[in-house]
């Protein structure tokens, strides 16, 4: 069984993809990026802490064993690091 990533980890991987593109071509200017993704959510407990797991579906074909997907829309805007 492949474990799902934490929701924040998935968001930073997807959102951070633009940073790779910017680093590879300094001529690109991106002000904001909008995403719409299907995400499978679950909760994971670790002691008293609860982690929200949220990852994109691993397979295109859905089966009765897959978690229902949640539509997640988010916008990332460019911000000075300083």
């Amino acid at each position: 069984m492949t474990s799902r990533r934490a929701f924040g980890e998935m968001l930073s991987d997807v959102g951070g993809g633009v940073l790779d593109a910017l680093a590879s071509d300094p001529g690109i200017v991106v002000r904001d990026v909008r995403y719409t993704l299907p995400v499978e959510f679950a909760l994971s407990r670790s002691g008293d802490d609860v982690v929200v797991l949220g990852d994109v579906p691993r397979l295109i074909t859905r089966t009765a064993f897959d978690l229902p997907t949640t539509r997640v829309e988010f916008t990332c805007v460019a911000e000075d690091l300083a």
């Binding site: 980890e9 959102g15 940073l19 407990r45 949640t70 539509r71 916008t75 805007v77």
Partner: protein, 260 residues
């Protein structure tokens, strides 16, 4: 992983916020590692979460839908980034002033669950807020209905919590400014002032009040008012009494005047 875990809705929202913070931090670290001058901040995020809803012990608890869950409810959650001034503005609105009585001080009047409902559903975070709400009949009825606590019990709890209490009666040490100034006495307690100055009496005679706040009153008693029954009245039906004797602590000049 525990697929059957349920979570109070507010904790779920906090857990999502924590994940958004983690994502933001990870992107900033990545941008620095790539020597980029800017990063990307998550501004708005909305999710249509499919989940089961339970209601127990005055809490809404949710569990994300499992595989083959056809009857799950759908939550539409929208998060948006807020600025530091907005956070500070909200923090001020919810903060309690030093010395302000919390709703938890009413634990003799309300059960844990009732206090939780009053706080989270009725917005009654402290006794001052309860007083404000009960001053407006419509708001009072609404809070009583929402928190499922009879209005009369709210009024009785407020009356008990508002009763003045005298804890200490102590002399103010002389500051050496001059013997012609009156000696002062400090009365410490709770609810010692409401609107306007309280009426303070010793053995049935009024005493001059120098200043007053809810936790302390400073009085300037006459030499013959150094002992007896002290009464502090903040409203027609709100009175506290205490017996005191400060004669042994008084300056010799005052004692001589009292004796003459």
């Amino acid at each position: 992983m525990n697929g059957d875990a349920t979570l109070p809705l507010e904790r779920f929202i906090q857990a999502v916020q924590s994940q958004l913070d983690n994502a933001q931090t990870a992107m900033a670290v990545k941008a620095r590692n790539l020597s980029l001058p800017l990063t990307f901040a998550i501004k708005d995020i909305s999710l249509d979460l499919r989940a089961h809803v339970e209601f127990s012990q005055s809490e809404i608890r949710i569990r994300p839908a499992a595989a083959s869950d056809k009857e799950a409810s759908q939550f539409h959650l929208v998060f948006t980034a807020i600025t530091r001034p907005m956070i500070e503005e909200n923090a001020i609105a919810f903060s309690e002033a030093p010395g302000e009585s919390s709703i938890d001080d009413l634990k003799d009047d309300f059960s844990d669950e009732e206090r939780k409902r009053l706080d989270e559903w009725g917005g009654v975070r402290n006794i001052d807020r309860l007083r404000e709400i009960l001053a407006h009949p419509e708001a009072a009825r609404t809070v009583a209905r929402v928190a499922n606590v009879p209005l009369e019990r709210l009024r009785q709890a407020l009356a008990r919590a508002s009763t003045p209490q005298v804890h200490d009666v102590i002399p103010v040490p002389p500051d050496g400014a001059g013997d012609d100034l009156p000696a002062l006495v400090r009365i410490r307690g709770r609810n010692l002032q409401r609107s306007g100055l309280p009426t303070v009496m010793v053995a049935g005679e009024p005493v001059a009040v120098v200043r007053a706040d809810p936790n302390e009153i400073v009085i300037a008693p006459q030499p013959h008012q150094l002992a007896g029954e002290l009464s502090v009245q903040t409203a027609p039906q709100e009175r506290a009494t205490a017996a005191f004797d400060l004669r042994p602590f008084w300056p010799a000049s005052v004692k001589a005047e009292a004796a003459s």
